[in-house]
């Protein structure tokens, strides 16, 4: 039996052929290495992220999460729910808290779930994969498994918004969370403590609806990484990763820059540091190749 086991909520973007599929592949590799078993919640549904509010009211949106919690309770009664996607984690945790504070809303959600013969009790903890790493495994243990330290790799730790606010990781500040930097240092890399865009918003879902406004912010996020001498930006959030990576061509065209900054996940850093190859670490999923990281992986 694996040392750690969780009821896993991967989320839409982590599915095969979706924008965050590389997150999922590297998470799988990372969990293999850390002896963590993720049991996918059967038939999970979308949480409606933080953009569904235009279409759905509060109760329908919260009920989406209630269904996932109900399924987890049914299939993995003794396991905490873990998510890797910031929006999935946030939406589910938010729903969990809201239901806890408002029993009448919970009753209504159960009334809706009854349409499909489901019910939830809402007693589960909703956690982020980063919490599993820091709280359940710990920096020391992670560090002890490093086979290929990320020597000389300068990493701009881009925490973004929703992994950090409003919940964040216990003991970290909203304005300057340090866990990503600590993780990079644990893996033998070089975290950039002066990276001032660490918790800057990338526009989130508005990258689609308000591209000009969002890309202005993304421009700043990348520019600061360059100014601080980063080789790579690392992030825990799939939307952050996509937004900061895939629009660099468009930003270059608009701002006359020559950005070519790779954006990777912490799970990819861990996979590489644990000695796994570029493919296992899903470095083939980069649109902007993380060459320096590939080189370490290829050692």
């Amino acid at each position: 039996m694996a040392k750690h086991e969780y009821s896993y909520y991967p989320g839409c973007s982590s599915q095969k052929g979706a924008s965050g599929s590389n997150l999922q592949r590297s998470v799988d590799t990372m969990c293999e290495e850390l002896d963590v078993k993720l049991n996918q919640i059967p038939d999970w549904n979308c949480c409606s992220a933080s953009i569904g509010y235009g279409g759905g009211g509060v109760l329908p949106r919260m009920t989406l999460s209630a269904r996932n919690i109900a399924l987890s309770e049914q299939h993995h009664p003794d396991q905490e729910i873990v998510a890797t996607c910031a929006a999935c984690w946030l939406a589910t945790k938010e729903a969990q808290e809201r239901f806890e504070d408002d029993p009448s809303m919970m009753a209504e959600a159960n009334q809706a779930l009854a349409e499909a013969g489901l019910e939830f009790k809402n007693k589960k903890k909703i956690r982020h994969m980063v919490e599993v790493l820091i709280e359940d495994i710990g920096y020391d243990q992670i560090g002890s498994g490093v086979k290929r330290p990320l020597e000389g790799l300068k990493v701009a730790g881009y925490v973004g918004c929703q992994t950090n606010r409003p919940f964040g990781i216990d003991g970290e500040s909203f304005e300057n969370p340090m866990y990503l930097d600590k993780l990079v240092d644990t893996l033998g890399g070089e975290s950039i403590k002066t990276y001032e865009k660490k918790v800057q918003c990338c526009g989130g879902a508005l990258a689609f609806s308000e591209p000009v406004k969002s890309q202005e912010m993304i421009h700043g996020i990348i520019e600061s990484a360059y100014d601080n001498g980063a080789d790579v930006i690392a992030t825990p959030c799939p939307l952050c990763q996509a937004n900061v990576e895939i629009y660099q061509d468009e930003i270059n065209a608009k701002y006359g820059t020559k950005f070519d900054m790779p954006v990777v996940y912490y799970s990819q850093l861990i996979s590489v540091a644990y000695g796994r190859d570029a493919k296992d670490s899903s470095l083939d999923g980069q649109i902007i190749k993380a060459k320096k990281l590939e080189k370490i992986a290829g050692k």
Binding site: C46, I51, Y53, E115, C161, A205, I287
Partner: protein
């Protein structure tokens, strides 16, 4: 100015009461102390015609139509900066979502507001099969202004799409079916019921 915001109504609590009853976390609006930290913390702050604390004041001043027709709350990126900084701990992000939803429900949200439009598309896309179909979502974005501009947009973003496909982070297969919840019908029933419960509550307001 409409009769909704006539002199008689101004600086009375009618609209505040409506917001408290019908808007997500609307109960908190009265707790704002007008410090403006939210406005200064918003990454898109400069694009808001009325920053959150002003919206709260407008609600308290009874400016119903001005609030609900505003495109300000549609500028929210859900970054939650305002929430964690608000000294009064108002769930500002949620109130903005709630106001946006309420405005849209009443048909007052500004027409052609891109985020208002996109959020509906997202919801519909997601509700179809219970999970988001990213490809269809992207395409509907390009084609939102019709076929001709949609093709232009697609060409403009062609490289991006090709890049994504090469990295196996976008799949053309998604056009034909794609991922989804097995019991999508059940999910739809559940959400429909939740919607009914919520609608009934909103419709009963003031009756």
């Amino acid at each position: 100015m409409s009769t909704n915001t006539g002199t008689v109504e101004k600086y009375r609590n009618n609209f505040l009461k409506e917001v408290e009853a019908n808007v997500e976390e609307g109960d908190w609006v009265k707790m704002c102390m007008q410090c403006g930290v939210c406005a200064g913390s918003c990454p898109l702050g400069k694009h808001w015609a009325h920053p959150p604390q002003e919206i709260f004041m407008m609600i308290r001043a009874g400016k119903r139509e001005e609030v609900l027709t505003s495109d300000s709350m549609w500028m929210c990126t859900s970054c939650y900066n305002c929430i964690v900084r608000c000294p009064r701990e108002l769930p500002i992000t949620h109130i903005m979502h709630g106001l946006a939803n309420y405005a849209k429900r009443l048909g007052l949200a500004p027409k052609a507001q891109p985020t208002a439009w996109f959020s509906q598309v997202f919801w519909d896309n997601m509700m179809k099969k219970g999970r988001v179909n990213e490809l269809k979502l992207g395409l509907s974005l390009y084609f939102k202004d019709g076929i001709v501009s949609g093709i232009k947009e697609s060409i403009k973003h062609q490289k991006l799409g090709m890049n994504m496909m090469k990295a196996k982070r976008m799949s053309p297969m998604e056009l034909f079916g794609g991922h989804g919840v097995k019991s999508a019908g059940d999910l739809q029933k559940i959400i429909k019921k939740a919607q009914e419960i919520e609608n009934a509550r909103l419709e009963s307001y003031g009756k």
